[in-house]
Symmetry: C2
Amino acid sequence: MGSVHWQDQDTSNCSIGRTWDIMGKPWVLLILREVFRGLHRFDDIRRHLGISEPVLSRRLHGLVEEGVLERRPYRTPGNRTRDEYHLTEAGLELFPLLVALKAWGDRHLAGPEGPATVHEHQGCGRPVVLELRCTADHRLEGVEGVEARSGPAARALARE
Amino acid sequence: MGSVHWQDQDTSNCSIGRTWDIMGKPWVLLILREVFRGLHRFDDIRRHLGISEPVLSRRLHGLVEEGVLERRPYRTPGNRTRDEYHLTEAGLELFPLLVALKAWGDRHLAGPEGPATVHEHQGCGRPVVLELRCTADHRLEGVEGVEARSGPAARALARE
DNA sequence: CGGTATCCTGAAAGATACTG
DNA sequence: CAGTATCTTTCAGGATACCG
């Protein structure tokens, strides 16, 4: 069978689209930002974001189901145990996504004062940046130099 | 008190929120994915995504306005000139964002066949990856080792 | 405090028809 | 081909009330 022409590929099975199906819902990325910042409890997140309870509840459930967050029981003295929401291994791997979002915003949308938060390498104290490189350790300056090719799961686009 | 619609919330002080205000709208990232893939014309994008014309039109206008895309006139023989949509400098800088999205999806949501597209370093042929490092060139393995601190534009959270 | 159930509402996606 | 205008409809977020 002939190879699929690159522009006729069906993108519905694309990883960007799939990830987007989870992360693209309203509030999700903002919720994750708060969890990365160290907020783990329902009401803390709710108050910081100004999100309504039902939506926050729904989103947290969804993220637990997707394996991005996990419940972790805790109890404050005198109260029954409750659940905190923490990032799973998979969730922690979303950090670059947030960094990418933040980096672009810092560069193109920041106010005159600069960013509200900075990420530093602990100990070293230098700013953290995202870098594109290949596995042979060549640094890439941007999209030029990158070639997109059909992968194993490429499918042809259905004709109309 | 006037309620704040979720898209009008005060994200003005956070780069993630600001970027999200643009990129978080439905279809936007998928549209950009197509443009990065080399699709530049209205109908091509429309057919590949299955998006409705009014929405595509609105999104393209928005992205032009935000400085992410620019119109570039072209003409096919015998027809009047039309516009293609191309990434601006700022738009090209969104590439890491798409890579981050794709990388996470490849790792956590891919089917058994693997990814539908692969990005390679041109010439070298090795896969392209996104790496977190600090400006002193220390490679970071993830969020551990990253310290988030208040930046110049930090503001206190308004009391309720 | 940490949610769930219900209802209401509005924004925005899609279908369709039309235009240059 | 590249859109715009209009209309309909759906869906999801917010308010509110309530429960363990």
